[in-house]
Amino acid sequence: MVFAHGYGCDQNMWRFITPDFEVDHQVVTFDHVGFGHSDLSAYDPVKYNSLHGYAADVVEVMRDLELTDAVFVGHSVSAMIGVLAHAQAPELFGALVMVGPSARYVDDGDYVGGFSRAQIKDLLDNLDANHLGWSAAIAPVIMGNPDRPELAAELTNSFCRTDPDVARQFARVSFLSDNRADLPGVDVPTLVLQCSEDVIAPETAGRYVHEHIPGSTFTQLSATGHCPHLSAPEETTAAIRAWT
């Protein structure tokens, strides 16, 4: 099983889920480039100006690990990255689990993504104002001292630290992509996990994904918010196990 973190923090978000699956699965977690302990020097603003860039990385990781028939668990925007990665290399994938997916966040005609254009603008502005990121200049110092992990541990909010430029572009790419046309191409068993009262990926968005992926399963969680794997790990784990 490959767990891909979504917009916000890093692979630590899966910490309450993965122990359960490690019992009977090979579990792979990773940080997208620009997050967590990834190599910041690998960041290419052109490649990552589209979700396809991130999807290519997923395919590369899976090929490198020689995975086949993998269950790809993607949270938030990574659910869509999974869809794109599957399109690039269908042979690697056995199933998709989409946690809080949305194929498009911005409302468009009859489509309800949950955000108006003005709200998305406000959102992107707001995200700019937060300073959880470290600057690219400091990152190599921390990354370059693996023998002194306390350096990283000393930093507050460390799990959600991101280089500000990377965070800004990832936010743009996450919230401004429109991947609705990619959904019908998914031909592996797919589970859509929908949270309650999720302002980021509302039920309309989750339903849309479910309705446009042929043969997909839709499971409504009672967990509220956007991160059921943190706020309700037991329910999330149970929902995935019940489906598989």
């Binding site: 978000m13 498009r104 911005v106 955000f115 799990f159």
Partner: protein, 761 residues
């Protein structure tokens, strides 16, 4: 002193009591009225406790805050941040510090806050409660925003510098106009994230071909050097409508054209073209070097970006930031300088190719002998390399004459042949050639439209022919040399080749100049040659008269170099009393002066014959009158009289080789003692007499037959004798031919006169 000290002490004690009281204050009051907002939530975010400070900041009572969720107090961006960062962080590390969030007040206004929070957990590690403090951070956030804005501006400025740096580097490597256009269009487009971009350049156009017969002023045209992502209809609208004046007017400064009411009123086509291209604005940047306006850079600003992301940008109403304006100005100037450099480079390369072509042309034509060959070489040089159709009209004393009409494509040659066929040579020239000849300067017509053709053709049949040629460009250059109009060279390009450029026209002009020089020389030479022919024809010896009882054959061969007549002559005249007078002579030299001297000498000799003098007397008289005659050259000559009934021959020689007598197959030189050459100091002539028997042949000749560069006179005489004996029996005519064939080479340094008289047997 002490009172004062005591009162101070008392006051100090009172303060201490007040401070103690404050410090022992009700913890509830401390919570409620603390200088920061406090709230506690359940793990799902539901607010279960809130202090008064926060309630007053929010502008609503506690009961309207409790049971809502922390998220509900935040702006949309804050909500997302809460869900994607704050809540996950609390779960993962149990605390967050200094997270910036915007709290929305009851009146809708926003209060920027910094939030610290901790998650309280039960012994099993399950979350129980979240405690959060909120600090007002209006000033700090404003300060941070200013830093952020400054940072962004610095980034933008750095991005612009990077763009300019790249532009400078790439332009430095651009050696052609196409390269420069490619760099400028691509860089400008990516810097401004334009929907499309194009570079339009000013090029000098041809003279008016719109039917305005007097419009010879060369107009400037705008042509698209490079276009990337802008629709052709829009470019066409800018470049060609009103002769590109719109684009050039716009390029007076950096302009932003927006399809608004005003544009719809003033330039409806342009506004429509912008709208159909779905462009919000068109940015027009002047491209110039120093004060020379070279063209315009166009940038089409649309509402959607080049990537596959949804674009949130509102239409910007075409407003550029100051930084953008600076960047574009600089880009325009850099592009201008690079264009000039590239043009210089291209011109140098073109000049080299042109020089090579013109040198080749000069060699080809210089090697041509005469007008006809010059015209042939010209046609080979001009089509199809320079043009599709080449016409040459030469001025003659009978008017203009078309001497060349060639199409580069043999399959289309019939089109120009048709045009020639109906237009008799003496008719007036076609319009371009006519005007070039009349005005004495180049006429250049580009993109001749049908209306123009109709207005300039001389005949409806010509119209059909010209239409069939599908001409895109016509250049007529007058041929002028030594102040004389020699004719007109007209080259045309058809639509497949495309219109001539100014550089093409320049090559045509230079080629025409070469043609003029070569033609003038060839014409002069041909005129001299014709004159010489006419004169020489009058000097050539007349055919001898029929002589009773004799067969007479004569031959005259001029030297193979130089003029076609020399100083040799022969003469046969019948005299009263069955006499015939015979003469052969050789004026020194074989040029026109020798020929003239020969002519005079022959006339004087003929005059002398009136008195039928003896041959020696002829020599004496000529010698005597030589100074009076003023003849410029000396001459050798042999004079004879023959009595026809008896065959009695009298011969006298003035320095001339002896005659040969062939009798019964044997040839003998007659022992005529030569006296001095005519023109030498006089000495009495000696006469020889003998008989020419019936059937014998008397052969008279000039030294061209017996003397050559490779053998001396004696050898020549011996060869003549042998040859004459070999051909003794063939008759006078054939004898002459045989002797010439055997003794006179194909390349003769001297003239030859040959005279054979055979007495009937």
């Amino acid at each position: 002193m002490s009172r004062t000290a005591g009162s101070d002490r008392r006051r100090g004690e009172g303060d201490r009591a007040q401070l103690d009281q404050l410090l022992e204050d009700d913890p509830a009051d401390l919570y409620e009225n603390a200088p920061c907002g406090y709230l506690s939530t359940l793990p799902d975010g539901t607010i279960v406790k809130v202090n008064q400070t926060l309630c007053s900041w929010l502008g609503r009572p506690a009961e309207r805050v409790l049971r809502t969720r922390l998220r509900d107090l935040l702006s949309v961006g804050g909500q997302v941040f809460h869900d994607t960062h704050l809540a996950p962080l609390l779960r993962m590390q149990g605390a967050v510090r200094e997270v910036a969030l915007d709290v929305v007040r009851d009146d809708g206004s926003v209060l920027p806050c910094l939030v610290n929070a901790v998650e309280l957990r039960d012994p099993e590690g399950r979350p129980v409660l979240v405690r959060a403090t909120l600090f007002e951070a209006t000033a700090r956030r404003r300060y941070e925003r200013e830093i952020l804005t400054a940072h962004r501006a610095a980034e933008l400025s750095e991005a612009r510098s990077r763009t300019l740096q790249q532009v400078v580097v790439q332009l430095a490597g651009a050696t052609s106009v196409a390269d420069v256009a490619g760099v400028v269009v691509q860089q400008a487009r990516s810097a401004l994230r334009s929907r499309g971009a194009a570079l339009l350049l000013v090029v000098p156009g041809p003279a008016g071909s719109d039917g305005d017969a007097d419009g010879v002023v060369r107009r400037s045209e705008l042509v698209v050097a490079r276009s990337d992502g802008l629709p052709a209809a829009l470019l066409d609208q800018l470049a060609t409508a009103a002769d590109g004046r719109i684009a050039l007017e716009l390029a007076e400064g950096l302009r932003v054209v927006v399809p608004d009411e005003r544009l719809h009123g003033r330039r409806p086509e342009l506004a429509a073209a912008l709208e159909s291209a779905e462009l919000q604005a068109l940015v027009v940047v002047p491209v110039s070097a120093d004060t020379r306006r070279l063209g315009v850079l166009l940038l089409g600003q649309g509402s959607s970006g080049a990537d596959d992301l949804i674009d949130l940008d509102e239409p910007r109403d075409g407003v550029l930031s100051d930084g953008d304006v600076d960047l574009l100005w600089t880009l325009g100037r850099q592009a201008g300088q690079a264009l000039e450099r590239a043009r210089l480079h291209e011109e140098t390369t073109r000049q080299a190719a042109r020089s090579a072509f013109l040198l080749h042309a000069a060699r080809q034509m210089a090697a041509a002998a005469g007008v006809g060959e010059t015209v042939d070489r010209l046609s080979e040089l001009a089509v199809p390399r320079l043009a599709d159709v080449c016409m040459l009209d030469l001025v003659t004393q009978h008017g203009a004459r078309r001497v060349l009409a060639r199409h580069g494509d043999p399959a289309r040659q019939h089109l120009v042949d048709d045009l020639l066929e109906w237009a008799p040579p003496a008719r007036e020239l076609p319009f371009p050639a006519r005007r070039a000849l009349a005005e004495g300067r180049t006429q250049w017509f580009s993109a001749p439209d049908d209306a123009w053709l109709v207005s300039v053709v001389r005949d409806p049949r010509e119209l059909a022919g010209v239409r069939a040629l599908e001409l895109a460009s016509i250049v007529s250059v007058p041929l002028v040399a030594e102040g004389r109009s020699l004719g007109v060279l007209t080259l045309s390009a058809d639509r497949r080749r495309g219109a001539f450029t100014a550089a093409d026209v320049e090559v045509v002009e230079q080629l025409a100049h070469q043609v003029s020089l070569v033609l003038a020389k060839a014409q002069r030479y041909e005129l001299e040659s014709r004159t010489s022919h006419t004169l020489q024809a009058t000097l050539l010896p007349p055919h001898p008269p029929a002589v009773p009882g004799m067969t007479v054959a004569v031959r005259y061969l001029a030297a193979t170099s130089g003029v076609e007549i020399g100083g040799d002559f022969y003469d046969v005249a019948t005299l009263p009393g069955d006499h015939v007078a015979i003469a052969v002579g050789d004026v020194v030299g074989h040029d026109i002066t020798a020929a003239a001297t020969m002519g005079q000498l022959r006339s004087v000799y003929r005059a002398l014959l009136v008195e039928a003098p003896a041959p020696s007397a002829v020599i004496d008289r000529l010698q005597a009158s030589w100074p009076l005659l003023g003849l410029q050259r000396m001459a050798t000559a042999l004079f004879a009289t023959l009595d026809l009934p008896t065959g009695l021959l009298h011969v006298a020689s003035a320095g001339h080789p002896p005659p040969l007598l062939i009798v019964d197959g044997r040839a003998e030189y007659l022992p005529v003692a030569p006296s001095r050459m005519l023109g030498a100091p006089p000495a009495p002539a000696v006469e020889w007499s003998g008989v020419v028997p019936p059937g014998a042949t008397l052969l008279l000749y000039t030294d061209g037959l017996v003397e050559s560069r490779t053998s001396d006179l004696d050898t020549g005489l011996a060869r003549l004798q042998v040859a004459a004996e070999r051909w003794a029996a063939v008759g006078a005519d054939e004898l002459c031919d045989r002797l010439l064939a055997e003794l006179a080479g194909a390349h003769r340094a001297d003239d030859i006169a040959l005279l054979a008289l055979t007495r009937d047997a």
